[in-house]
């Protein structure tokens, strides 16, 4: 008996769900960043940086959304630059957060 999870047609669906979970995690990290900035340092510079980070996270969510849409197409393209884009979004949040923690 072939487990349902190994059926070829379920693979894109599983990958789509993995992207959705990652979108949720990215949203939660962005929310925590907002809370941390509000609690620790609400100076104009920090708030401007926060706006930039929120825009970067929005870009990451958009990239993820495009990949989810790609999973629904008959011919699935390889991951491409979406992977490194997502990793750079995480690094951007990390650099900003670390700077806020150190400065404030």
């Amino acid at each position: 008996v072939t487990p349902e999870s190994q059926l070829p047609e379920s693979q894109p669906q599983r990958t789509r769900f993995a992207w959705r979970r990652t979108q949720l995690a990215l949203g939660a990290a962005a929310l925590l960043t907002v809370v941390m900035v509000v609690r620790r340092d609400s100076s104009p510079v920090a708030l401007a940086g926060l706006l930039v980070i929120v825009a970067v996270v929005g870009l990451g969510l958009l990239l993820a959304g495009q990949r989810v849409a790609a999973m629904a197409r008959p011919e699935i393209r390889p991951l491409g630059r979406a992977g490194v884009g997502l990793a750079l979004v995480v690094v951007a949040i990390a650099v900003f957060s670390a700077a806020i923690v150190v400065i404030s």
Partner: protein
């Protein structure tokens, strides 16, 4: 030696930013393998985000400890670890994709074991710090 190392490092980074070059390597694999590799990449990204979230949580919600800057040190360490995990996720994805296309064994890595040990050791240190700090 240094020249070769630089070439290797820049070649690796170029592979991250131009994954289309991977299409020139080996043969197109069964798409299920590529998707499984992609899901593993996403799982690592979520691990990085969880570490980042842990660091943010420490910075935002943990009360100041007995020693100055220790709380901030823990927060920054977790945040930096999260970023390192995200970068490593891209590198591991690219190396696995290449190995899959070439029909080679998947690359081995000590990173998961090192990460697990670092998290376990960090958890013990934080527990001790919190207990000692709350008694005084």
């Amino acid at each position: 030696m240094t020249l070769r190392l630089n070439h290797h490092v820049f070649g690796t980074i170029r592979q991250w930013f131009d994954p289309g070059r991977l299409d020139e390597v080996g043969a197109t694999p069964d798409y299920r393998f590529s998707l499984a590799n992609e899901r593993t990449f996403l799982a690592w990204i979520r691990t990085g985000l969880a570490l980042l979230g842990g660091g943010l949580g420490v910075a935002a919600f943990v009360p100041p400890l007995r020693w100055a800057h220790v709380r901030e040190g823990i927060a920054v360490a977790l945040i930096v670890l999260g970023a390192a995990v995200a970068i490593r996720a891209v590198d591991h994805w690219a190396r696995c994709e290449r190995a899959i296309r070439l029909g080679q064994p998947l690359p081995r890595s000590r990173f998961p074991a090192i990460l697990a040990l670092a998290i376990a050791a960090g958890a013990v240190v934080v527990l001790v710090l919190v207990l000692v700090s709350s008694r005084s």
